[in-house]
């Protein structure tokens, strides 16, 4: 086990904890918290603060029957909701996004593969599989991009990112992550805008490939 050196930012963590973060980023932050004791403590500290707000806020009168309804339902049978626990290298939030199944990889060329977990107007989140020594296609961003390493590691101008490390890249960063030697690098990557690839992929194709 190596230490996690790159964490979520204060603002992202708080936005996730209070439920204001878009879905795609929430998957990544939840996956990072699953791996990182430090950020889990910070996440729970925000819940402690939320609890204080709940505790000290105003009350609303309840309907007469609400309490007896709830008490009557305490031992009622319930449909168990599917719980997606960690499986292999994939933390629970990733397994939930995969609906409990294994990733279905699709080739992006140059040995790079991806599995799209969700994609919409709010942004996209996917898994990337990058062979050792291979560069992730050179790209810059329209918005914010979060990348969490789940296996192997990659390096770029800003440093080395191993399992559990989270890279936060904004518009200003034009970077070329390269997977390090060893295991293929598997990352969870989310954007709030479609990626722009500078080199080998015409922009016209991007909507078709959903990258």
């Amino acid at each position: 086990m190596t230490a996690i050196n790159h964490h979520t930012s204060e603002a992202l963590l708080m936005a996730y904890a209070v439920g204001s973060l878009p879905h795609s980023f929430s998957v990544v932050v939840a996956a990072h918290i699953s791996l990182c004791l430090e950020c889990r403590a910070a996440f729970e500290a925000h819940q402690a603060a939320g609890g204080v707000i709940l505790e000290t806020g105003g009350t609303e009168a309840l309907s007469e029957d609400l309490k007896s309804d709830v008490l009557d339902l305490l031992d009622a049978p319930i449909k168990p909701t599917p719980l997606h626990a960690r499986s292999g290298i994939y933390p629970g939030p990733v397994m939930a996004a995969l609906k409990g199944k294994s990733p279905k990889w699709k080739s992006l060329g140059m040995g790079v593969r991806q599995t799209i977990l969700s994609s919409g107007r709010e942004g996209s989140v996917r898994l990337l599989h990058i062979p050792p020594g291979q560069a992730v296609p050179d790209h810059s961003h329209n918005g914010l991009e979060l990348t969490l390493v789940l296996q192997g590691s990659f390096s770029d101008d800003t440093g080395r990112f191993g399992v559990g490390d989270l890279e936060i890249a904004d518009q200003a960063l034009e970077h070329t992550p390269i997977a390090d030697a060893g295991l293929p690098c598997i990352c969870l990557a989310a954007t709030d805008a479609p990626l722009r690839f500078n080199s080998f992929l015409p922009r016209l194709l991007q909507p078709l490939l959903r990258i």
Partner: protein, 210 residues
């Protein structure tokens, strides 16, 4: 000292409720575990319906107020209150007083429920850390968490009204990601360290994860 719920007699905790309240008014740090925590542990460890009833009376009206302030109508708010309180009963084994006061845990359940109601995609949640019965927290850790919460309440009260309002809006989920910056936050450094100590007990679980 190890805390087991059996140490807390019903006759013992009811009268301390009033005493605690008075102490809070003169902003003394709590010296006893709060009635809410005691009720929650009785629910968790003994499926105690009287304790659940007390929790309901305390939290349900606050929850309804909380949910309505973030935009729900009265009927929808009551549906959410019902779901949240039933989850408190059904998932009681997940409550860990060494990491959070009861209201923190209920806040978490309530926000999860609200987000699931609003969005079509369920809220992504971190893996739960399993509880190991051999690592039951001692009462001093539980009390220390509650003392930090009491300080957090005081810090909130000391803020200027408009600043307090922004923080309330943030925790109600009313601010966007962009509007939330580090400046909107309460001072969470000490509570975070305290929660971390509570998490350290489960550290072997974390090791298995990576």
């Amino acid at each position: 000292m190890l805390l087991t719920c059996h140490d807390i007699d019903h006759a013992d905790w009811r009268p301390t409720f009033g005493a605690r309240k008075d102490m809070n008014e003169v902003t003394q740090p709590p010296t006893q575990i709060s009635p809410q925590t005691t009720w929650m542990l009785a629910v968790r460890d003994r499926r105690d319906r009287a304790a659940f009833s007390a929790l309901f009376d305390h939290f349900a009206p606050r929850l309804k107020g909380f949910v309505m302030r973030s935009g729900a109508g009265s009927a929808q708010a009551e549906e959410i209150v019902q779901d949240v309180m039933l989850t408190v009963w059904r998932k009681a084994e997940q409550f860990d007083p060494a990491r959070a006061q009861v209201s923190a845990w209920i806040y978490r359940i309530a926000r999860n429920r609200q987000i699931d109601v609003i969005r079509k995609e369920g809220r992504p949640l971190p893996d739960e850390l399993g509880e190991d019965p051999s690592t039951e927290p001692d009462a001093s850790q539980i009390l220390a968490v509650e003392q930090e919460i009491s300080k957090l309440k005081q810090a909130l009260e000391r803020l200027k009204p408009d600043q307090r309002e922004i923080i309330k809006q943030a925790y109600l989920g009313e601010l966007t990601q962009q509007e939330i910056s580090a400046q909107t936050g309460l001072p969470l450094g000490t509570i975070k360290s305290r929660i971390r100590l509570g998490l350290e007990r489960l550290r072997h679980e974390m090791k298995d994860l990576r």
